[in-house]
Symmetry: C2
Subunit: 86 residues, 2 copies
Amino acid sequence: MYTIIVYDTLSKNCSKLHKTLKRFLNWNQNSVFEGELTEAQLFDIKKLLHEKRAADSSIIVYELKDAKNLKKTILGEPKGNTSNII
Amino acid sequence: MYTIIVYDTLSKNCSKLHKTLKRFLNWNQNSVFEGELTEAQLFDIKKLLHEKRAADSSIIVYELKDAKNLKKTILGEPKGNTSNII
């Protein structure tokens, strides 16, 4: 399924979350990752995020069965490593 | 259509983008807004964001015809003012 993950955490926790997410997904913007995942990968990623996130962090996981219905527009300069995935 | 907007900008530009987006959408996390918009509202919001964003900012607009296909999970404490929209 197509997955978008955004996180809001303390700056000292950012590197840990970034490293975890980039193992599975494309880095899209400061704290935004996205890409295609299997059910098993999504299970793993959620487990890892639970372990590695700071206590007061908030992480949102959006899951879509099909990315064909998703339109993406970037205003400004694309950041990260995926400007043309969708 | 259902819209998710995430931004990455200088801290001094955050307040301007936040104020613009909260006129139309629900604040979801630090720099994440989402909600249902008409085509006209989406046009207006993109125009306003172009005017108000800092030069080196990056704003991603995700558009979905139907939010029924979108599953949302929050790890940690929900922030913002919409934890149960979807």
